[in-house]
């Protein structure tokens, strides 16, 4: 049994705690920490966690805690991740790994000094059945060498504090990781185009944005990042290869025929769209810990790479021209 401590009792932290308790084999949530004591208490009671730590660093140090989930605000990720590395405890850190590429790099270097992998970054899409199937077939050569990838990332809406940079760092960051993972190569150049914004976006928000990634081997990836899309949470991905294409299907399971149309549901939010992905991510993470194996999920280096590319993308957004990614 893996005793897990969860840092952060907000939407993501409580979701992880609940899944670990009710749907993941071999795990138990034994401790919770949150800056807001009441939130910590509520989640702790719900999942039967015996201990509440006011200080997350105490949770990490708690000998009863074998492994840590970090789901606190991004500004806190670096110190908590470093503490986990120092304690040698497996940690699953929500994306983004850190608020800057420099901070992410310090995590990578600390883990390097430790000499073994303890950090996993929560790029859960790699565990989505659709993405996993697409990746498996791509790797099997079903469509030949990839040439282009077309992506769309559409949110129904975002918080009022969401700004143009966050369209990249909070949303399109997933496509950065998907690109690197699917193609197995680095992004070297980023362009961000900004069409006339939707009238539904807050004034000043560049939404949608069209990001263009160029990779080491000359592949091109276009990403529509549209966080005020309104109609649903809709994720699209088509890989174009030399012999054909592979594309995610919407995750509907039932067709409804009424009122002159056949309709398939599109999920209202990321929680519904990626419910299975979050579950599979946690199960794989716990399984590796139970087996004493290094985690196989996204590594600190993946979190760092995503941060570097996002910083280039933000620079490209602000400059209005292509920006090379510098490592």
């Amino acid at each position: 049994m893996v005793n897990v401590g969860v840092i952060g009792a907000g939407l993501m932290g409580s979701t992880h705690a609940r899944l670990l308790t009710s749907a993941v084999a071999g795990a138990e949530v034994v401790a919770i920490s949150d800056a807001v004591q009441d939130s910590a208490a509520t989640v702790a009671e719900e999942v039967g966690a015996g201990t509440i730590h006011a200080d997350a660093l105490e949770l990490i140090a708690d000998p009863a805690v074998h492994a840590v989930v970090i789901a606190s605000p991004v500004a806190t990720h670096e110190p908590f991740a470093l503490a986990c590395i120092e304690a040698g405890k497996p940690v699953l850190c929500e994306k983004p790994l850190a608020p800057s590429a420099a901070a992410a790099k310090r995590i990578v270097e600390a883990e390097g000094a430790l000499g073994r992998r303890v950090v996993t970054v929560g790029f859960m899409r790699r565990y989505d059945p659709g993405y996993a199937d697409l990746k498996a077939r791509l790797d099997a050569g079903v469509v030949g060498a990839p040439l282009l990838v077309h992506c769309a990332h559409r949110n129904p809406g975002v918080h009022h504090f969401f700004d143009s940079r966050m369209v990249i760092t909070d949303s399109a960051v997933h496509e950065v990781d998907v690109t690197r993972w699917l193609l197995g190569e680095e992004i070297v150049r980023v362009t961000v185009l900004t069409p006339t914004p939707t009238s539904k976006a807050r004034p000043g928000l560049r939404d949608p944005q069209l990001l263009l990634f160029e990779t080491e081997r000359g592949r091109i990836v276009d990403v529509e990042a549209f966080v005020s899309a309104g109609y649903a949470y809709d994720i699209r991905c088509e890989v174009v290869g030399e012999d054909g294409t592979l594309e995610l299907l919407p995750p509907a399971t039932v067709a409804l025929r009424t009122e002159h149309r056949e309709s398939l549901a599109i999920p209202p939010g990321f929680q519904q769209r990626f419910a299975t992905a979050y579950l599979n991510e946690l199960q794989a993470w716990v399984a590796s810990i139970r087996l004493g194996e290094e985690p196989s999920g996204p590594a600190a280096g993946d979190g760092y790479a995503a941060a570097v590319v996002c910083e280039a993308a933000v620079a490209a957004l602000e400059a209005g021209r292509p920006v090379d990614v510098t490592w």
Copy 2:
């Protein structure tokens, strides 16, 4: 140029006249006849037909008329079809060919006495791109020998005079022809099951009905005939073969994503669903006449066979048990 006379200026007759004028190569509508003079005059003016015959038999006899479309009430089909045969003029007769199997048989015999095919029956589904594609692949052996066929025939609604027998003779008659055409064999036994009717149906109307056809070689076809389905005009057909299945797709060309769903339009009526089928049917008919060839479409014998099977089906509906088809 084939000079066509159209008998019947109602929905079907005017549709045919319009298509012959505006969308079919090599045809001209030169004469119209309808019991209601005003209807005939309206359609004649619209399509530029120079002659209005008060009497349909005069239209048939008119030497300026090379070929005839019969789209008048079914009670009149027999005398008009016989007159066309007597005149040796190609005739496209709307389904059903005649109000009874006996009447249909007289048409078959009259044509037999003439010694060449002049009658085509308006089972237009054979000209629908979907059905035609399905038939071509079935004949090519793509799914092996057919074993079962599942059909659904759903109308948005019907006229107040529509009774339980007409669910068979007016709607499911298409599936009778489709069955014979797809499988290339006769139906020998019919069962009609009547579930609890929809509350949307007029009192007394058995709707939906589930028809079961057994064929000479032991294939079974089930047909949901549901004329008060409300939501659309929806036609389904899946052929199950020894190696796989072939199924009609809904004829949508655009996917709309709004309001948490992806939706595809289903046509509101048969006119929209089978618009291309009606056009192809007329074009093929006119083309055969221009070339002086015998028509290749559904023959008088197909109209007769459909009538025989429908009479057995009506008997099965009334008897509440399987009824053998007798020829």
Copy 3:
């Protein structure tokens, strides 16, 4: 933690043991029993179960075992289920619950005498996301009152000992449960039609079969049961209501475009098709035990009802005419 004993180390038993160990929260497999000792030992080692019981009744009696999964041959279900009831231990029994309606009834009566639910029957489809979504929308009235249900149950192939009756008792039994669960009413009459068998079936096997269920309130359900379908494991279900229809979609997550076609994978076997259903079924079962609640899944009475309907269906198959279900 729920300590589970698993009876049967074959395909289903080992699958359940593996899922309980690697993917279900709150369960541990502590004991295994199988008539074949080697099979039991292999599975026990794989899942870390400490005890192997040569005699399944000993496993049931083992105080370290809190709950039991029965996945042994159907002939053994009755005595094992009765022993679990006697011991007052929650038991998840694979379908069919018992080899005869009479045997199933004895289980229902024994549980009745106990005074609380301990038996759950493995009709896992109720836990499939597609079926669950369809049921939820049907209950929400999205398509109005149901009138008809069209089902297809296609297996790629079956063992050489599979006979015509087993097409009903082993395959279509799932549709019996689905019908009762979706419509919330009993089946009162069954007809079985037997088209010409596929040439791929073993001589003597009536395959496919077309089953027709009539329910208390006059709904009709048609079920194509086709166990030598060859091409895939394919399950279809469309509910036709007064205002529209609801239909299961194939469970593909990726579209592949190559060689002049777009293609979606259909699972090769029931294990792939219902992997999530099996997992959800076990998780719900374990959760109810952890919470000390009665199980909410299919009950002994559902197993009994399915057996009664299947016996009527077998009688209908053999008689070649409709048979009323007698309780």
Copy 4:
């Protein structure tokens, strides 16, 4: 009856001649002209055209010819179109209208001097049922104001003489017209990105290309132009609006289930994909002539605009940076 003269007896010319004869109401092909006499003779015989003109200008001048189709090599379009304008005869000119924007402009100016529309350009996609449906719904406001358009234009392969510029001028030119038509505004800036070419392309051919169009009102359109895609002739188009998206569906009419997959055919070539579009284009053109109305299809100005944008795109391809469109 409209007497049509067809210039060019190659693939497009013979296709048009055949359609006019066998599938378009109200037209007759009376004359053919081709630089290769034998080709002209073959087509003339097939469609029953009585006259063969060795010189296309004679065909245009022929008083028996009411209207002209130009389907000869693009180098000849300008003189033939100008002759038609001079003769005041309706002309349907295959795309591109002329080999250069300057040449296209001369045609526009000549027609302007004539004072009425006689030129229609063969951008047949506007007549495709899918595109037409998408346009109608977009104009009806179903998805709100358009923000982005994602297009893909994939050919199975191209002739050996196809060069990187032709990917734009011969293939993506259709998307130029589609963009202008769907959005109702001009393209003002073009970027062309060139990923690593497919190994299936001839050495030196930049294939695929990713074109980016920016419009007057700040919409962005991305176009994958991939002429060695191999697997099919596949056309994709998704318009992203403020309230949802509209997307072309593949034109399949039948689903095949075999060998562990459901598959839908994708057409092998543009002839199959746009068969209905070509037919509708000709029918609408002939109908306007019969009615004595000005043509409603793509005008000379549309041909000129497409040429101007393509020249900017070729410049962008060669320069490797965005190029403004200058009129």
